[in-house]
Amino acid sequence: MADFYPVDALHVSGVSVGYKDKIAISDVSFEAKSGEIIGFIGADGAGKSSLMQAIAGIVRFSGEISYLQHKYHSPKEAEKIKIHTGFMPQGIGLVLYDTLTVDEHLRFFADLRDLKKDAAFLAYKKQLLHMSGLSAFAERQAMNLSGGMMQKLSLICALLHRPKLLILDEPTTGVDPLSRLELWEILRNIAKEEGTIILVSTAYMQEASKMDRVMLFHNSKVIASGTSAELIDSIRPYVYEKSLADNDENSISFDKVIYSLDSLNLSLHEPTLEGLFFVNALKERKKIANFAIKSREDDEVIPEVVMECHGVSKKFGAFVANEKIDMQLKKGEILGLLGANGAGKTTFIKMLLGLYSIDEGKLTLLGQSIKSGKDRQELKSKIGYVSQHFALYKDMSVKENLLYFASMHRIEKKTALSRIALYAKELGFEEYLGSFANELPLGVNQRFSIAAALLHEPLVLFLDEPTSGVDTLARAQFWQILQKLKEVWGISILITTHYMSEAQFCDRVVLLKNGQKVADDTVSNLYERFPKAKDFEDIFLEFYKEKA
């Protein structure tokens, strides 16, 4: 059999990975030809990472993998192919050393792979730095990079030795649209010119169209595979235009689309790859439950303007992270804060929260002018926050974590338990309640963080990339929850995201570029301003191309 394939192909046959008593991925077989880009998509915890780790030869597995005439069945046997592979594990900045600069990382990885530092290498390195937009930050230490920049640095470190087999576990999570375009440009060039096989998992479905083949993972199995177009075609009959008078029991409705396995008396809608997840959920008889939120238990009076700042600036040494930013967040408003990696979004949010001091400017939160840490003390219980990085206690189970946060906010245990049960159901992590936080995939972890931020029913939510790395279904659910919270509780939400498709769920968006505000408008107004834009990503790119 194997003889029909060229020698530089990758064969995976019957690979399973298990941890303790849990099966992470079972019995996967596929082949990849030289120059092919294969995408792994699927819900969080579906087994994508485990398969990648098996192929990279860093975890024990059963079955056989063969690459470049080497057959391997264990990490030890895989040793021989590691010279040809590049692997980037999931997690932001995981493989970086805090105190090394960008340039030092590149030197380290080059030496690690025993690369000759000839002219070709230097040119390639320069190209990578340029493409990732890190040229200007070559001397910055990794711990001072933004999350997206860390991802880009990790990726170019994995590319440095021009691997023949590149395994990337969510390399674009937390990376801005512009950089994502650039990264894909790099990947496609490598695949085409060097015949590299690229296995890549992603939570951004738009990226799937750039892949030669997509494999859909579900419950530790690969349930579908084909080109992005083929997969989209496969759900074509189940996707309908949304109408007002729908309320079918067996359908899921999200955004402007209804998914249903029964034929509905509605016109069909052009499907997207995201639809795959919804249709799959229908087949599994899962539903996006209607989020049953009760009105808040207290009757806090929320001021009309929840947050207002004037001329807020932040400097780190010579680097200006935020420059004279004015912003307003009104009652019951969802404000999207967009911008490339390193544009100053996280810095800005941390200033609002008091985690960074404000160098310059005025800030008013919930009607109170903030001058010192004391002013914030009583506001803390009215604010919810989800950070970009994983931030739960590793040695406690998810439930214990949530209960702990609840009691920190002096919520009664009974109330806390009922709220936890509610969010667990709505955000789809019921099955993980007893697990330890560090054993779970990134996407699942983000959901607990969101639940933790909602437990104390805050008046205002600051969410820093809450949806990064979260799978499609959970994101859909998440946005429904945000909408409900806004409607029922009337709370305000400031959110950053790199999913441009999510911008349309925001009432207003603010765009940051190099620490400055470059746009502040409603989504529809922005579409009017850029009539040629197909989607919001185009608008975003317009702003970033403008002066560059």
Partner: protein
């Protein structure tokens, strides 16, 4: 207010219990480590290895040698030449070498001035010295000198001169210092490393409450270890006397651990990661333990260090504990130790508290 405080305490305790390896290490420290320290160290000469070269014709030298018996000495080994004997001493197989010259017996019988040659490995100075004292008194007994004085020696507090219990107790007291500083520092630094620090800051909890609760949780862990150690090792294995009040020791220990946790807070404030915690704690603790008199009596230190030692809270803690265990000093008379621990501890805790509080 109260419930939040105890929630934090319980969370930290649970966290600790979850790390099986950490629990194992702490258990090991409080039991086996203390046992080893008590069993192992013996500064008094015991089983001193003696070698001899006997060129005399035997009688007196045999008698002298027969006086070298256990527990102080092991049976003397005969060497044929002084060279062999020196070699054995060089190789550390023999610590004391005795050389009886040709005319040793003759001179003795003629009641002339007789010399016994002693070669002594003085690498461990104090043992060498004490061994010489033994030899001297053995020789005295050979001369018919009647010492007109009788010494009636009473050893107080620790009648059977049990050195083991003392060493074990000293080790326990040093260990308490070490563990409480490291554990407290780690509790905070772990949050920095895991990224939960920001979340902790955003809780609507008074920073003071958080710091106190976290400190208390580690104090509880250490106190638990102390009780274990007292029960299983100090009292059970070493039969350490408890001439004073048990509760007054527990109370003193509690005050002391709490104040030492302040050093942990200070370390946590300046350390970025666990690696730095390890190094900073060692650098801060070694002088502290050293100046406490745990290793060497304070009045034998250089005067400068003697003055410095007044600033080591461990000094008051150790002296206080010894007094409670051995001297059975009554609670009222312990006030200097309580004062020392409380005042220095309070200062240390406030410094650490302020330092870490600035990060909140």
């Amino acid at each position: 207010m109260k419930s939040v405080f105890f929630t934090i305490v319980f969370k930290e305790l649970k966290s600790f219990m979850r790390s099986a390896a950490l629990v194992a290490v702490v258990l090991y420290s409080f039991t086996i480590d203390i046992y080893v320290a008590g069993e192992g160290i013996d500064i008094e000469p015991r089983n001193v290895a003696v070698g001899y070269v006997d060129n005399s014709s035997g009688g007196i030298s045999k008698k002298i040698l027969s006086n070298l018996h256990s527990p102080e000495f092991v049976a003397p080994v005969q060497f044929l030449s002084q060279k062999e004997l020196s070699n054995a001493i060089y190789n550390k197989e023999i610590m004391v070498g005795l050389v009886f010259d040709n005319d040793f017996e003759k001179l003795y019988r003629e009641k002339k001035n007789t010399q016994l040659n002693v070669l002594l490995d003085a690498t461990s100075a104090s043992q060498g010295f004490t061994t010489l004292m033994y030899l001297q008194s053995i020789l005295f007994s050979f001369e018919d000198i009647q010492i007109p004085l009788d010494l009636k020696i009473h050893k107080l507090f620790n009648q059977n001169s049990d050195n083991k219990s003392f060493m074990a107790l000293s080790e326990l007291l040093s260990l308490i210092t070490m563990l409480v500083v490291i554990l407290t520092a780690i509790v905070f630094v772990k949050e920095k490393e895991d990224g939960t620090w920001d979340i902790m800051l955003l809780m609507p909890i008074d920073a003071k409450l958080t710091i106190l609760a976290k400190t208390l949780s580690q104090v509880i862990i250490v106190m638990g270890g102390v009780i274990l150690s007292l029960g299983f090792v100090i009292f059970n294995i070493f039969d350490t006397p408890m001439n004073g009040s048990f509760w007054s020791f527990i109370f003193l220990t509690f005050l002391y651990t709490f104040s030492s946790a302040g050093i942990g807070l200070f370390v946590a404030a300046i350390a970025k990661d666990v690696m730095q915690v390890a190094q900073f704690s060692i650098v801060i603790m070694i002088p502290l333990i050293f100046l406490s008199g745990a290793w060497t009596p304070i009045y034998t230190m250089y005067p400068f260090f003697q003055v410095l030692s007044f600033f080591s809270p461990l000094r008051y803690y150790i002296e206080g504990s010894e007094s409670i265990f051995y001297r059975g000093t009554s609670f009222v008379d312990l006030y200097p130790y309580y004062f020392g621990v409380v005042i220095l501890g309070f200062i240390l805790y406030i410094i650490g508290f302020k330092k870490i509080g600035r990060l909140f």
